[in-house]
């Protein structure tokens, strides 16, 4: 006999509001239905009422974790409509900010995953490290969450002392290599809670069109930084970690290894930061009529913006945002099928869901 257990929209096991209707037989989940929309703010509609300065501030608020990525992708699309090309120094600073944000996001997720595994000491360690990443972000931008770094044609602020930031990054890397990485990759607690749990096969990952670490943990080697480089990524040497198993442990390993790759990229970008201007310095931005699209590899996977503008118009006529969680979330249904009911909080958290992004 099957029965339905509703989880959410507000539930201690969920990070943000959404709802899972779980169809169970005994302790085994047989099917699940997802409900989103509890964070819906109508941001795409609001964007049509904002000018090119205001729309950047608005889109920075799509997500509290990857706010910089949203403004980066939006500015890249608007640069195509204005013909402005950011100077090399700005492209490097964009890479540095994007990788610091990836570190921040992955360490935050690692802490939440540790908590859901029942590993609360690790939760505290991860959040302490996250604070240090946020300190670096604050040292560069002056802000801890919404950094206001991107503008059309470049960035707003410089990195005055790359060596000081490099020292902070090296300290972070050392601490992560000493604590977070070994514990997540070798501890028996992490293994027993995550191995073989919430499997998404490679075939299903491709058919669902999942992106980012979830795709890479199912053996799909997909990363826009490598496949379609933007900013200064073409000049960076890094690996794209891929795991074949498709379970929660594989997602854990991919993110843990990506933390080390982000540190590697940061060291290169800070060491090679070219001199020059921060932006094109244009006082007046002139748009041509048309639609432009840009894509960026956010911490959770591919973000895509389509921006439509009419010449001499004050506001965009359309801004469409495709966020990574929107692409990944439907796959939760396949991950929880056949899983134990008690594992569902960890499984749904293993995609590192962002409901603010999804609902917009």
């Amino acid at each position: 006999m099957s029965y339905k257990i509703p989880m959410g929209p507000y539930h201690p096991a969920l990070e943000e509001p959404y709802k899972l209707d779980l169809i169970c037989e005994g302790e085994t989940v047989r099917d699940a239905k997802l409900h989103i929309g509890f964070n819906f703010r109508g941001i795409e509609k609001l964007a049509e009422t904002r000018n090119y300065i205001q729309v950047i501030a608005l889109m920075e608020r799509v997500c509290g974790i990857c706010s910089n990525i949203h403004t980066l992708t939006l500015c890249m699309a608007m640069e195509k409509l204005t013909g402005l090309e950011p100077p090399p120094r700005a492209q490097y600073i964009r890479v540095i900010m994007a990788e610091l944000e990836r570190l921040h996001s992955h360490v935050l997720w690692a802490g939440i995953a540790a908590k859901l595994m029942g590993f609360k000491t690790m939760f505290m360690t991860c959040f302490e490290l996250r604070e240090k990443v946020m300190d670096v972000l604050q040292a560069i931008s002056g802000n801890r969450v919404n950094y206001s770094m991107n503008r059309i044609g470049g960035v707003n602020r410089d990195i005055d002392d790359p060596q000081a930031v490099l020292k902070m990054v090296e300290a972070l890397e050392k601490e992560m290599a000493r604590t977070v990485i070994p514990i997540f990759t070798t501890s028996s607690t992490a293994r027993s809670r995550c191995a073989g749990v919430g499997i998404l096969s490679r075939e299903k990952a491709i058919s669902c069109g999942v992106v980012g670490p979830v795709a890479r943990a199912s053996g799909v080697p997909q990363d826009l930084r490598r496949a379609a480089p933007y900013a200064a990524y073409a000049e960076m040497d890094f690996d794209v970690p891929v795991q074949p198993d498709g379970d929660v442990r594989a997602r854990l390993l991919v993110r843990a290894l990506e933390i080390m790759e982000s540190c590697k990229i940061l060291r290169q970008a800070l060491a090679k930061l070219p001199p020059g201007e921060l932006n094109t310095g244009d006082e007046k931005i002139v748009f041509t009529t048309g639609t432009a699209t840009s894509r960026v590899e956010a911490p959770r996977g591919e973000v895509m913006y389509s921006v439509s503008w009419k010449e001499s118009a004050r506001n965009p006529s359309r801004v469409h945002v495709r966020t990574p969680t929107f692409a990944v979330m439907p796959a939760i249904r396949w991950m929880v099928m056949g899983a134990r009911l008690a594992d569902t909080p960890l499984i749904q958290a293993s995609i590192d869901p962002c409901y603010s992004c999804t609902d917009r």
Partner: protein, 136 residues
Amino acid sequence: MTVLETIPEKLGTTEPWVETGGVQWLTPAPMSVRALTETMNDLKARFITVTAYQLPGEQGFRLEYHWDLDGQLLGFPFALAGNSIDSIYDLCEAADWIEREIHEEFAIDFQGREYEPLLLRAGDAPGVNLREEAKK
């Protein structure tokens, strides 16, 4: 000949690819969106999303279907005189949520599928969010 260059022939069009705004565009008419999806599936292209635009006056809508082929972003525009188009959900599982979202935002009907509410809450009707008539 690259895979990209073989696509127009597969789609039965003589139109060339046009690169603009970061996208390789191809107008697949007269091919249907379902035939396009089957072609993209055969090429193992990755479905990304559909972007909907409401055109001025009585011109209807434009839907832009996007796939990724080895890192290249491909775009296929479809003009809708009315407010319906075939669903590709049964051919491309990844299109499920975006079809549901566009249905709710613009009241466009994707024929051949059923909907469950995605973003709308009780009392809201499709089109309440981005349809021009609703904005006025």
